[in-house]
């Protein structure tokens, strides 16, 4: 097994099932450490933004805070509301968690370190991640709590809306990769994440698809329920959203899923846009530094994502939906079309990059024009249509139907 993660060091032949078991254990360990690290990091960074120091008491400069939190969660009583739907409520954390766990599989850490290099890696990530939302909506519905239901419904609407521009951007990235690989005659690596990373030895794709990078990042924030797109879990609106009724380790599993997804989606973005384990603009310095490069790129983007929580105010749910369908989706489609036209006529790479950059400027211009503050007016009025009557997604009727269970 050339792509072996652990046997590479041990240098021994292992039966398949031991190998598989080791890979799974590796995922579990990495996931746990990652969640601990990210929670600590998030607290520290947010504290800085708010002129505080963050956790300091547990361990040196507070580094053991996450472990203390985990201990608290594990020992906490696991409560199920008496009116909750038993099966949906108990199973939801697992169904939300397992898909996120599974998308570890095709992620490349170095040229040869991954759990498995899947040929259809990119498609796999989105196919599997889509199942996560089933768990979220099960939690929202099963809790028998109108805040949870609203949170779940919001999460579903948001995930489905932002999945589409993200997938179109992935399509445009695959198009670019296939176009570049076609010169070697073999395009089969264009959907494999590691194949895409391997093609970025000289040019990271962020230069070829800057619009794609921005749309992907926005979509990722929405998929991950990160601010400013955290309406499904907004404390001030839906009191925590779909996991409001959960406590103890079941609640912890939602959080574990969330931070794991944060790490993985950001790792994916840094792989397909920033060149993953490659040095920027060529000059590969060998395996030892590849892992460092991957983690540095990922960390920079994680800090970006966490900072956005402190930097931007939360949107309204209708603004969020409008932004996806009326702004991001058309731009993503135009990007795919532009790539197709340029590549069909054999345009060189720099034309692809230039057109994408022009589209990015157009996107910024449009957003700026639409959100310009008017005197005493609503800042984002022109993005949305007139809310003549409540929209389906946020409709109070939804709550009314559910809340009216008593009569």
């Amino acid at each position: 097994m050339p792509d072996l993660v652990l046997g590479q060091f041990a240098g021994v032949d292992m039966p398949d099932w031991v190998d598989a078991l080791l890979r799974i254990m590796f995922i579990v360990a990495l996931m746990t450490v990652n969640a601990f690290a990210l929670i600590y990091l998030e607290r520290k960074i947010l504290a800085r933004f708010q002129a505080r120091v963050g956790p300091t008491r547990t361990g040196p400069i507070g580094t053991l805070q996450s472990i203390a939190d985990a201990l608290k969660l594990v020992t906490k009583e696991d409560v199920r509301p008496s009116t909750a739907d038993r099966w949906a409520f108990e199973l939801a954390p697992y169904i939300a968690f397992v898909p996120v766990f599974l998308i570890f599989v095709p992620m490349p850490f170095t040229e040869t370190w991954f759990i498995r290099d899947l040929n259809l890696g990119l498609l796999y990530v989105f196919g599997v991640l889509g199942l996560n939302i089933v768990g979220v909506i099960m939690a929202g519905w099963g809790s028998d709590n109108k805040y949870a239901l609203l949170g779940g419904v919001r999460a579903a609407a948001q995930a489905i809306s932002y999945e589409i521009p993200m997938l179109l951007i992935v399509v445009s990235v695959v198009m670019v990769a296939a176009g570049r690989l076609a010169t070697d005659g073999d395009v089969s690596a264009a959907v494999s994440i590691n194949g895409i990373v391997a093609d970025q030895t000289t040019t990271p794709y962020i230069l070829l698809q800057p619009l794609g990078f921005v749309i992907f990042l926005i979509g990722a924030l929405a998929e991950l329920h990160r601010p400013p797109f955290d309406m499904p879990i907004a404390e001030s609106e839906v009191v925590g959203g779909y996991f409001v009724e959960y406590s103890g380790m079941r609640w912890g599993m939602f959080f574990l899923a969330e931070y794991t997804a944060l790490f993985l989606i950001v790792l994916l973005a840094s792989s397909i846009f920033l060149g993953g384990w490659n040095w920027p603009f060529g000059a590969d310095v060998g395996l030892g530094l590849q892992i460092v490069l991957t983690l540095v790129k990922t960390s920079v983007m994680i800090v970006l994502v966490i900072s956005s929580r402190a930097l931007f105010p939360r949107l309204r749910i209708d603004q969020l939906m409008s932004f996806s369908w009326k702004v991001l989706l058309p731009f993503a489609i135009v990007q795919v079309l532009a790539n197709g036209i340029i590549m069909a006529y054999g345009g060189p790479d720099w034309v692809v990059g230039l057109v994408s950059f022009a589209l990015l400027l157009a996107l910024f211009g449009l957003v700026f024009a639409l959100t310009r503050t008017r005197k005493g007016g609503d800042t984002t009025r022109t993005i949305q249509t007139t809310p003549a009557r409540p929209r389906v997604i946020t409709s109070p009727e939804v709550t009314a139907v559910e809340a009216g269970g008593g009569d």
Binding site: L120, L123, A156
Partner: protein, 171 residues
Amino acid sequence: MGDGVTATQVVFWILAVVMLVSALGVVTAGNIVYAALFFIAALAGVAGIYLILAVEFIALVQLLIYGSAVVILILFALMLTRARERPQALFGRTRPLGIAAAAGLLAALIGGIVATQWVTPGSAADFQPIALQQIGDVIFTVWIVPFIIVGVLLSIALDGAIMLASPDEEE
């Protein structure tokens, strides 16, 4: 492979049981959200069967499309029905018609399965997985007309849905 049970067979039977149980769950669950959740289990089982058949692309597309589709189904179930208040009656006056239709469909499917000359695969060694590129080539050359027709149909359906759902602009 030997005479014993292969790992593939074990996986197949597990998937088959999961699919059958959840398919039965879809039609017998009184609660419409349960039915939708059983439905996604059944569809995931189908994706698993596709994986056994080594057509990863179709398996992943199955998950990608039906995953979102089922979520939308649940949303519809929540918004358009009052399932939470009283379990829906499973049988109505049309019961005999339903039984007849189901029996006819079952007979047609069994007939089709029995009548087909199945291609028996050779050994696993000479099996060639289909590359994504080949699928793309075929869809966009040989089957381009059906592809466009499906696209136009879906666009019309989407436009219609938007027309129906959009609030009246003039009041």
